[in-house]
């Protein structure tokens, strides 16, 4: 089983990211969960969402505490939240929306895990026209982890976003190509 935690700010679509990932995994025959952190939702406040993926039924009804993969949708979150909290020492990955390099971020924030960086703000602004980075970040996550197939994710993006799917798909594909995977 792999466990994921998504960090973002209310309104940026962290919950949608977790949902799209789980729905894609389920469509591909896997077992998955996605759920929000169930707090009072306020626009702009730090939020987290969770997901789990496994080849067998998942029997866990608690929040994710030791995520294998962490996705940070908003660069400013790093200053106020310890996104590395609970990450296992082995095999964990953080996927970060940033204009900076992994080395710089590691120096400033002491982040755990292999770092994957992508300038999702710029990609989302150019392809979607708004700095909503949830679908963009999924591109980097899928590239870095191979958790689900690209085509399966695109099916979900089409279903979820309908007539505005095209920009989201482009942003997803660009992040898949442009993300920088450390080491």
């Amino acid at each position: 089983m792999v466990e994921l935690r998504f960090h973002g700010r209310g309104g940026q679509g962290a919950v949608t990211s977790a949902e799209l990932l789980a729905l894609t995994a389920i469509d591909q025959g896997k077992y998955a969960q996605a759920f929000p952190s169930f707090g009072p939702e306020r626009r702009g406040a730090p939020v987290v969402a969770f997901a789990r993926i496994d080849d067998k039924p998942i029997r866990m009804r608690v929040a994710v505490r030791e995520p294998n993969y962490v996705i940070v949708l908003d660069p400013s979150i790093l200053k106020i939240v310890n996104t590395s909290d609970g990450m296992p020492a082995q095999g964990s990955v953080q996927v970060l929306n940033t204009s900076r390099t992994a080395a710089e971020l590691r120096k400033d924030f002491g982040l755990k895990g292999k770092l994957v960086t992508v300038n999702a703000n710029r990609i989302a602004a150019e392809e979607i026209g708004r700095v909503i980075t949830n679908t963009t970040m999924l591109g980097a996550l899928v590239r870095a982890t191979g958790l689900v197939d690209v085509d399966g994710m695109i099916v979900q993006l089409k279903e979820r976003f309908g007539r505005i799917a095209e920009g989201n798909i482009k942003a997803f594909r660009r992040a898949y190509e442009e993300c920088v995977i450390e080491g």
């Binding site: 977790a18 469509d27 759920f35 866990m60 009804r61």
Partner: protein
């Protein structure tokens, strides 16, 4: 054929109610039940379901409207949580006394105060005496299946009682997970049209709910007891019919790896899933531990439970609610009552955990299991213990 699909459990429950072709829905939105009724309102507004959706000013009105619908012969559905269920309290007794078939799903949530929107079982456990049938779902699939089952059980002329389907707020209600949603044709085969035993009809007028003088009240209560207890047979039969048709089997008392277990955990609702994962880990270490839980909470399946725990040396009972100043949690109190005087009854070690949305994690199960083992090793049986308290019972909070 049903298709396996990822979806939010609340949405799936609304779709299940729709597949049951309900005639009337009267409900008031309350977190975390909201998505169920919102989605049902959409389904009705889109014309996908030919039903009356009655928006009401409160849960008290919602249940009162449901009684009217059921009395008129309509297949009736509602949903609530926490304060909403509490506000229905006095009407709950009336729905059951009038023998009104209806289904209510309850997204279980803590009662105030302090105000808390998260999951525990204080809402359901304070409504044990209302004369409704009550079943617990542990995950989304079970919630969907139990909605369908509940309509069939409730409308059975040998039963004719309202039924609550409990599922945990947020950690089940808001979860995206894989589900198999039976389609309308399949459901229709399992659940034929509702045939009321009696109904309000202007051409054949009857009175429902007259006063019960001291000369009849006791007899009315005896009838209620016989009705709720007597529903056990039809419930088991309906579970079996569902299993034969859909391949998913339900029992009044469910067990997991309990065959040779010396210690059994007793859980209710979705923590049972986490407990199964914990049991698997313990079994790998050679621990003889299993799991037992009530699927059916009313009527309480007493003989099934006795059979399920026979041979166990101790039960670790985890309640999600308790009565301040009382003897402990409601589930453990009922178990003690059931087992009192039974030869070779297991020791009962009682805990209260997971209140107001606090997760019950592996180390919590470890702790409760360790204390139960200590009792088997000769330590005195402690009174019920509220675990997970920061700083301990007498420390800084």
């Amino acid at each position: 054929m049903a298709q396996r699909k990822g979806m939010e459990v609340s949405i799936a429950i609304a779709e299940a109610a729709s597949a049951c072709d309900v005639d009337c829905i009267a409900a008031y939105p309350i977190t975390p039940q909201t998505h169920v009724v919102e989605h049902l309102a959409e389904i009705v507004a889109e014309g996908e379901l030919d039903a009356e959706f009655i928006p009401v000013e409160s849960e008290h009105a919602a249940l009162s409207a449901c009684i009217g619908c059921a009395a008129a012969g309509a297949r009736t559905f509602t949903a609530t949580s926490s304060q909403g269920l509490a506000l229905m309290h006095e009407v709950l007794f009336i729905a059951s006394a009038l023998r009104m078939p209806m289904v209510m799903v309850v997204a279980n949530r803590a009662l105030s105060g302090p105000i808390n929107i998260w999951n525990d079982h204080s809402d359901v456990m304070t409504e044990r005496d209302v004369g409704w049938l009550q079943v617990f779902a542990e995950n989304g699939q079970e919630a969907v299946d139990l909605v369908i089952l509940a309509h069939k059980i409730s409308e059975d002329h040998r039963v004719l009682l309202p039924i609550m389907v409990h599922f945990d707020g947020f950690i089940v209600s808001h979860m995206i997970e894989p589900l198999s949603l039976p389609d309308r044709d399949e459901v229709k085969k399992f659940l034929p049209n509702f045939v009321p035993a009696m109904r309000l009809d202007i051409d054949n007028p009857i009175s429902m709910g007259p006063v019960g003088m001291p000369t009849v009240y006791t007899e009315a209560k005896m009838v209620a007891e016989a009705a709720v207890r007597g529903s056990y047979g039809p419930i088991v039969e309906t579970f079996k019919g569902f299993g034969d048709m859909f391949g998913r089997h339900y029992r009044p008392v469910e067990t997991y790896r309990s065959e040779d277990a010396e210690i059994m955990m007793v859980t209710m609702g979705s923590i049972s899933e986490t407990a199964m994962t914990w049991v698997d880990a313990q079994r790998e270490r050679g621990e003889k531990v299993g799991l037992v839980r009530f699927r059916l909470w009313r009527p309480l399946p007493i003989e099934d439970f006795k059979n399920a725990v026979r041979g166990a040396k101790a039960l670790t009972v985890i309640d999600r609610h308790f009565s301040p100043g009382g003897p402990g949690g409601p589930v453990s109190a009922e178990i003690k009552q059931v087992l009192y005087g039974t030869a070779d009854a297991p020791q009962i070690v009682e805990f209260v955990a997971g209140l107001g949305g606090r997760d019950i994690n592996m180390e919590d199960f470890d702790q409760m299991y360790g204390k139960t083992k200590a009792v088997l090793a000769g330590a005195p049986v402690p009174p019920f213990e509220l675990i997970q308290v920061r700083g301990g019972h007498h420390g800084e909070i």
